[in-house]
Point group: C2
């Protein structure tokens, strides 16, 4: 998968900003590569980009139309198809984060085939993968883990990769979810991989590299989440991280979509480190990344200080404080 930028961001007529969450993430991290947005009448979301139609996007240099909006059910509405076909006719590829595959729409599939354009269904994982081997690879790896889903693993990973590159260290962000894949232009939607191949797909995502190169692998789920721990442990074993960063949302009481409480953060760190030792006995948790967006400034400062005391690890909020202290702590 190699999604070409610049991107033309397609929002269609989604009802609200939440439905454009994926697109918002892409624009946040790759604003310079997002040249405009395509919005229908009644669209309730806005990415802060110039509004344009497909033709104007093409004239401005767009190479891929990115469908970063989700409408109810994740299906592809019939009235979006004409714009997608127009983009294909104009010479663009199309990338989509919808549950419904672009390739399952006959008109879209036939048009892409006829014109030799590429369709990227980034929520799916269509390649074939080997089973994981657990063999040590060269290069260094960091994996973000968490006390729950949706606690900032992707943001933290991107921020660490950016900080490393700003310091002149070779580093790649390795995307494992749809938004990350659209941001990076490549990656594997690991939770869509068949169970037998989770760790194998993750091994392929961060292959042998130069000894000083860092792969910053986007984590998913939590070992303590009863829905998704399988994805998490496959990512842990496959990425064989040298460093873990624990991500946390301090105001949440229950894990996402289940009745289970958020685990104790120290116990959570221990369990993730213990699991990671299987494929890298030298792994350490080097810090904590807290999403304090629900707290005011004073509350956030207190929260970070408290978690830092509790864990004995550098504790940051990637948005409020940046991740420099995490990068300082890398082996």
């Amino acid at each position: 998968m190699d999604i070409q930028s610049p991107y033309l961001m397609f929002l269609g007529d989604v009802h609200d900003q939440l439905a454009a969450k994926t697109a918002t993430g892409v624009v946040h991290w790759r604003r310079g590569d997002c040249i405009g947005q395509v919005r229908f009448e009644n669209c309730g979301a806005d990415l802060g980009l110039e509004d344009m139609d497909i033709a104007a996007g093409k004239a401005a240099g767009a190479r891929t139309l990115v469908i970063g909006a989700v409408n109810p059910g994740g299906v592809l509405p019939d009235h979006w198809v004409a714009a997608i076909v127009e983009a294909l006719e104009a010479g663009m590829d199309v990338a989509s984060g919808l549950h419904t595959r672009l390739t399952s729409n006959e008109t879209v599939a036939a048009t892409a085939k006829r014109l030799g354009r590429r369709l990227f269904d980034v929520r799916h994982a269509d390649g074939t993968f080997p089973t994981g081997k657990g063999t040590k690879r060269t290069g260094k790896r960091l994996l973000t883990v968490g006390t729950d889903c949706s606690v900032g693993k992707m943001y933290t990973s991107l921020a660490i990769a950016a900080e490393l590159r700003a310091r002149g260290v070779a580093a790649d962000f390795r995307a494992t979810g749809q938004t990350g894949i659209l941001i990076e232009g490549t990656g594997v939607s690991v939770d869509a991989v068949v169970s037998d191949f989770i760790s194998g797909a993750t091994e392929g995502l961060s292959p042998d590299n130069d000894p000083d190169h860092w792969d910053i692998v986007e984590g998913q789920g939590s070992l303590f989440h009863p829905s998704f721990a399988g994805v998490t442990i496959g990512l842990i074993h496959g990425s064989q991280p040298d460093a873990l960063v624990m991500c946390h949302e301090p105001t949440r009481k229950k894990m996402r979509n289940v009745e289970h409480p958020i685990p104790d953060i120290r116990k959570c760190i221990e369990a993730h480190v213990e699991a990671a030792r299987l494929t890298n006995p030298d792994v350490r948790c080097i810090g904590v990344a807290v999403n304090t967006s629900a707290l005011d400034d004073v509350g956030a400062t207190d929260c970070l200080k408290s978690i830092e005391q509790e864990t004995g690890l550098p504790t940051v909020d990637p948005v409020r404080t940046g991740v420099a202290r995490l990068v300082d702590a890398l082996p």
Copy 2:
């Protein structure tokens, strides 16, 4: 999935007995439901059943042709298709443990559709599954776990279910792999489920039941196997076992197909129990099942005694000693 017996076992012309491993397992556990075997010239395997052709199998009452043999690459050889079509024409369904789906062969698929017969590709998991919820269900559950893959989890599970039923206790074997599914006639090939849904698929496999009913869930992999731990933890969380049985092969030095050593059995028990506490805080490991087939009688007796001392748990070989002591230890 509801595969109807009696079975007519199809071996085709596989080279040796190992290629008929799945069929051998089915015949071992359901001999009374296997009415014959279909073998071509040069077939190197023998299930000890009466040889017959499709017509004779039909006349003897076969309702499903079971392809329990694997040829190189797991593909469906062209010269097997005529026999499969003949079985469909004769009124049988067809169940297959091959990697290649029956439904991917146009002739087989078209014939089945025309005649209204069912094709079961038991190595695949074609249903849609919800994500796991971790909500406590009624009834009791036992899950077999292991120090590695292929250490006897299926055999141990079937033996425990049989022992329970022999004692008049309501019990079901819940199959999670291809051989188990062919034996039971239903189940989910959990390692073929998309990662996001491992625990959800497992929850569906052992639904709410009577308070005294036992589901004996077939385990897969090991938390310490770098290829398959994701499948294992999904099974652990989804089956929310009251009891675990640790399965072990005492002569193996490395885990299957990787360079990792077999884990210490006490550490392995602790890790599996700890993971299982997430969805059932009362879970206990109630015993150890050892496959001593590589040892002589004296060696086997010494081995079982040694592991029993080391773990403090009832330790049996399901084949040599039976599983009565494990069933005695159930809560």
